[in-house]
């Protein structure tokens, strides 16, 4: 068993060095495509910070003063429920102070100054409203009516706040996703090609191996390992790139004025770490798949 493993590793390494140019090309392509995949994840997550309070078709938020009494809150709730033809009362959601504070932590992730002004005690609570009606005028007139209720601090409409951002984020998400998928396919192709070249260079050896009775798996494994290693190295390079990109971006937006929203477009480092693991995983799979296809197709020499 040990002799087989050491054989596979030795062969992988030897072949890796032999095709240095092609190997470098395969690694770089997979690195670039994985970097794009990673960037897509980060952009999506960063935009979610802005959009988190509007998730789930919420189009109106009624903010309630933090010092509002239970009766006032009850009154607002019953007023909201009194228009069941315009408001989807089943989806009506009230966030208490703790829940609102948790949400604020995400909204103001890049804006620690604003966040420090908020405490779980001083934060306004909120009703999230999903309208049934498609008529923006109707929703707007309703919001004017809610503003006058006692205890209401403000009413925010999605229309005013996030339509542009939402459209922008969807657009960027689609573009980066498509680009990264195309590049991933190119990476598979390049890895496939390096493995094919490696197998062609060693066709005589493979012929002898088959004649003396080496199993197909025995012949295939070093090539598959080689592809896996290429994908994995591409993943490592992309992780480095993503880390650098994210640091530059986070430092860059830190200078923006609080409240412009731009400073919310950052991701927590724990999220960055998990994205990096995902990239390493995708890299390994892409490499193994590309080389497995090549190794299987060209084993009939």
């Amino acid at each position: 068993m040990f002799s087989r493993i050491s054989y596979a590793l030795r062969e992988t390494w030897a072949s890796f060095r032999r095709n240095l140019t092609l190997t470098a090309a395969a690694i770089l392509t997979s690195a670039v495509s994985l970097l794009l995949v990673g960037t897509t994840f980060l952009i999506q997550r960063a935009f979610e910070n802005l959009l988190v309070q509007w998730r789930g078709d919420v189009e109106m938020i009624v903010f309630v003063r933090s010092d509002a009494s239970a009766e006032q809150i009850g009154l607002i709730d019953s007023v909201l429920r009194s228009s069941p033809t315009i408001i989807d009362v089943n989806k009506l959601l009230y966030l208490n102070k703790t829940e609102s504070y948790e949400e604020a932590k995400r909204i103001f992730v890049g804006d620690p100054v604003t966040l420090s002004l908020l405490t779980p005690e001083s934060i306004p609570t909120q009703f999230k409203v999903v309208p049934l009606s498609d008529d923006p005028q109707l929703v707007r007139s309703l919001s004017d009516q809610y503003r006058t209720l006692p205890g209401v601090e403000a009413v925010a409409l999605a229309e005013d706040e996030f339509q542009v951002i939402s459209t922008l984020s969807n657009f960027i998400r689609v573009v980066t996703l498509v680009m990264s998928l195309v590049l991933l396919a190119v990476a598979v192709g390049l890895i496939w090609n390096t493995i094919r070249t490696a197998m062609f260079a060693r066709r005589r050896e493979i012929e002898v191996m088959k004649l003396v009775g080496a199993t197909n798996w025995f012949i295939r494994v070093p090539f598959m390992l080689e592809g896996l290693l290429q994908g994995l190295l591409g993943g490592v390079v992309s992780c480095g790139g993503l880390w650098a990109l994210n640091s530059a971006w986070t430092n860059g937006v830190a200078g923006f004025k609080p409240g412009t929203g731009i400073s919310s477009l950052v991701v927590p480092s724990s999220y960055l770490t998990s994205v990096m693991f995902i990239l390493l995983g995708i890299g390994a799979v892409v490499g193994a798949v590309g080389s497995a296809i090549a190794a299987t197709r060209f084993l009939d020499v």
Partner: protein, 234 residues
């Protein structure tokens, strides 16, 4: 399970026909039995189907019609995953030696044990022994290009025999060698045959066939035209 009759023969062909492409008939309706430990020459001009017969026996090819039996097993219905294990019971020798030029004599022979997963200590015992048998004990560290043709063929025979196969298939092993060197190769194959290994050798070397006086199966245009014990080339 194979029936008892099939067990007698090491190699058995039953009405085997092999067609390349749509109409090139390489072998037509060939049948013969080769008992264990026999030495058989396949003779005939180039393109008469000798090599195809060898390739049918180690399942590099599969016949369009008929059955090939090896050691009592019909190898036509052998699943692809079992083919490597069939090949471990056979050694192959070729006219062009098929040695790996970037490996030494020792490594070339060791390679065939290595890739079937033999442990290091077995390799280190068996390789020098078989190199001694073929008379190359003092050239283990040489590379193929530093050897004469006859020596290279000895390396390839060592590689084919190191795993003690039941069958040795040789395709024109003396095709590139002068008569004196050929004689040496033939006496080596003869010694291997004496250990109980069945040897099937395709050749069109008259001198070799006539001096050995073994069974001769003659092919012409894919058809067996003669099968004779202790034959000559004609």
């Amino acid at each position: 399970m194979p029936c008892a009759g099939k067990l007698v023969a090491m190699i058995r062909l039953e009405n085997v026909t092999k067609i390349y492409g749509s109409e090139t008939v390489a072998v037509r309706d060939a049948s013969f039995d080769i008992p264990k430990s026999q030495f058989v020459f396949l003779v005939g001009p180039s393109g008469s189907g000798k090599s195809t017969l060898l390739r049918l026996i180690n399942r590099q090819e599969q016949p369009e019609r008929g059955d090939v039996w090896v050691a009592g097993r019909n190898i036509n219905d052998l699943p692809a995953s079992r083919v490597p294990f069939l090949r471990r019971s056979m050694g192959n020798v070729f006219q062009d030696y098929k040695l790996l030029l970037n490996k030494t004599v020792f490594e070339n022979v060791a390679f065939s044990l290595e890739v079937i997963g033999k442990p290091r200590h077995v390799i280190e015992r068996q390789v020098p022994a078989v190199l001694d048998l073929v008379g190359l004990a003092d050239k283990q560290g040489r590379f193929p290009e530093q050897l004469s043709g006859g020596e290279q063929q000895r390396v390839s025979i060592a590689r084919a025999f190191v795993n003690r196969p039941l069958i040795l298939l040789a395709d024109e092993p003396t095709g590139n060698l002068d008569p004196t060197t050929s004689e040496g190769i033939m006496s080596l194959l003869d010694r291997i045959n004496e250990t109980g290994t069945t040897v099937v050798m395709a050749t069109h070397d008259h001198r070799v066939v006539n001096s050995m006086r073994r069974r001769v199966i003659q092919m012409d245009h894919g058809v067996i035209v003669r099968d004779q014990e202790r034959g000559v080339y004609e």
